[in-house]
Symmetry: C2
Subunit: 447 residues, 2 copies
């Protein structure tokens, strides 16, 4: 990092993984290093690129002798200043990141699976070694979310964070809402466009969003949750009829990652599920593959950070921002701030309260509604609105409940499934109330 | 900052000004210092508060002996570590900030007028003294805009930035659009609600937005523009009929602060004017007193940062984030990054190209349209759509032009004003085209 005369030379960067994001990043480093140095005062030099298969032919924007298939050796090479991990997954990413941190090298990663699984341990290891572990690209791609939470809002009392953090499911739900497609067709289209994997389960079952929710909860509340701790429901049970009904009521269906303080704290809730969001809420206007994180805090009020949640170039942009930051901190001899992590008490999902949208397919015969209503009453779940839609010899009953305890609603659904007249319990959507939206437009000061 | 044993004591903060924002900040510092220290590892201690009038009675959340009316003495007191300037305006804020920086003290300020007038000089003075000059609160209140531009997007090639950065005018325009109010009534309502000053000119004439535009241009493009360099048009000429017509065409009228690279650079354009924004654009959904900054970059794609643009608590939240940052950097012995500023060439407004909305009140008699159309033709301004609305013995002609050179449109308007049949040239709005919006929802990768 410094030449014989003591002037700081460029910071030497090792990039592990040269796929979608890694490829975009090395492209930026190879073609724009001079401009970046000029603008930021930080020289970045690509010093090595680790790939798994050297024999694969590639268009390289850098000298081929920078390529290696020995990532471990690269990470520990004495001329490396910073390590960028873009391999993804747990293994070997974890051991490589650990080796880099132990060697006193700052690490920039976009690996949400790794951070959601062992982010607390890795952050501790980074702190022990006095180096940065930065991961803006791990949540919501190019959108500055991690840094605002870590720095701008460091002193803020955040009460809730709701994110649309999975572009695949948001694309599918947008198609269902705006083009009246059913789930299977919308998924197929997303797959055709390369927006969904052939096996889409990590996205549509909510696992990807759950990993991101755990990372966001760690930043917002210092929680030590891992992905596995996060309650999740995906969008596979959302039907076109649910989306259309939500629309008629003035709502949009979104898969939300929610992290919030419950009843004033210290308990928190971290969860992923589809929800009905009022059309006037800023999250409702987040369409297609875009992402957004909506933050509510005591002093800051409501914030929303919006943009491209994925893709090679946007994610590489986030990695580059971290890389410049890590290089500056390395020069300054002091890592950036790291949020304090503490054991969090998570309120079980059953103990939360929410309004619900529920739809039931029932046999269209007298007495059914009374039987169904009795079940709601038995569990103290109060109905706010009901609508019946005929479906040949069946009927669909759609309910909006008042705010109810989740476990009471789940028990209601369990009992309803036992009723002979109920063929199917369909969409179950939590409703984000008007109270959950931003304050009215006429509140707050001007200018 | 360190006690006798060498352990770091709290960072001692002087706050200049105890109005709306200053009052909210000292409230946070007085009541939440312990919690902030616990979460961020940075102890902040309120060491002094300078006010102009000591005799005014106040509810103080801190010991009264911290109050002083000698700001100059406070800034230079040896026990002060960081100075927060929340007096506003140029004088005495400038000399106090300069004194603090010269004394080697980091400065946090929310003073947009000061930064827009001499931000380049102050940044240079801060750099010379090796200390931070941070000002997140100066643009868009609590919304993290400055830090993302300075850090997350430090390596990004930003092509354009469009901001709704004045809550007063956005509130007025929202009322005109959603409640069909005319400008005067909407302004009166905003004044009644405390969202507009009794003399609203700094807001409605675009001066406030122009100051913020110059600050944003400095961050996005390293430009050295001051507020006075920024072309501005306010909203006083926007009529209810223009807003209603925009709505019928699928647009929303917004006062935009725009900073963009022209024709691939290096020229830039920095300006403030009302514009028609397509309803599908994320900026269109920014309602009431909210603010947002929409950023387009080569790698990051489109980003939008949204939230409360003003108010005591939101602005204090932004100041607090900066304060924690400055305190950390002070501890680390190294200031944060400062954007490089260089002389920018600004393309004159007349040389820009845009589509235009124009409305003319004319005498309703034969031959008028032909005369008007001839004037457009004389200046090579091509009409895309025209509509005539009858107004008793007058008529209103509304035109949408194809993309045209600004100076040609202005010359067209000058000539139209000379026509006897033209009573009034009304709304002139630049049109943000579909090309200027975010990419389509089906673009970009998923997940």
């Amino acid at each position: 990092m410094s030449d014989a005369a003591g002037a700081p030379g460029p910071v030497r960067v090792a990039v592990l993984g040269c796929g979608n994001v890694g490829g975009a990043l090395v492209g930026l480093l190879a073609t724009r290093a001079e401009e970046i140095a000029d603008r930021t005062g930080v020289g970045l030099e690509l010093a090595g690129v680790a790939v798994s298969d050297l024999s694969r032919s590639r268009q390289l924007p850098f000298p081929p002798d920078l390529l290696t298939d020995d990532a471990k050796e690269l990470v520990e090479r004495p001329d490396i200043d910073i390590v960028v991990e873009l391999i993804g997954g747990l293994d070997p990413a974890r051991s490589l990141v650990e080796a880099a941190l132990r060697a006193g090298r700052p690490v920039v990663t976009g690996n949400k699976a790794l951070l959601a699984d062992c982010g607390v341990e890795l952050a501790a290891l980074a702190a022990d070694n006095g180096v940065d572990l930065l991961y803006e690209a791990a949540v919501a791609g190019a959108i500055p979310v991690i840094r605002p939470l870590r720095e701008s809002l460091a002193g803020e009392r955040i009460s809730r964070l709701m994110g649309i953090v999975n572009g695949t499911t948001n694309y599918i739900l947008t198609s269902m809402a705006e083009e009246s497609m059913d789930y299977a067709d919308a998924l197929a289209e997303a797959q055709r466009l390369g927006l969904a994997e052939r096996d889409p389960s990590a996205d549509v079952e909510g696992d990807d969003a759950a990993a991101k929710a755990s990372i966001l909860a760690g930043l917002a509340f210092g929680s030590d949750l891992v992905a596995a701790d996060v309650y999740r429901e995906g969008i596979t049970g959302v039907r076109a009829a649910d989306v259309a009904f939500a629309d008629r009521l003035g709502y949009v269906v979104k898969l939300l990652a929610v992290a919030e303080v419950v009843d004033g704290g210290p308990d928190i809730s971290v969860r992923v599920h589809p929800a009905m969001v009022p059309r006037s809420h800023p999250l409702a206007s987040v369409r297609g593959a875009f992402n957004a994180v909506f933050i509510e805090g005591e002093a800051c009020g409501e914030l929303m950070l919006y943009g491209r949640g994925a893709g090679g170039a946007p994610s590489a942009s986030a990695v580059l921002g971290d890389l410049i930051d890590a290089a500056r901190n390395l020069r300054a001899g002091s890592p950036g701030p790291a949020p304090k992590r503490t054991a969090s008490k998570v309120r079980p999902i059953g103990e939360l309260r929410s309004a619900f949208y529920l739809s039931l397919d029932v046999v269209d015969q007298p007495g059914v509604l009374a039987a169904v209503a009795t079940v709601f009453g038995n569990h103290g779940v109060s109905i706010k609105a009901m609508e019946q839609v005929g479906l040949s010899d069946e009927a669909r009953l759609i309910f909006l409940t008042h705010t109810a305890r989740e476990s009471d609603v789940q028990e209601t659904l369990d009992d309803l499934r036992l009723l002979e007249a109920v063929d199917r319990v369909g969409g179950v959507l939590r409703v984000i109330g008007p109270d959950d939206g931003p304050a009215r437009a006429d509140e707050g000061a001007g200018v």
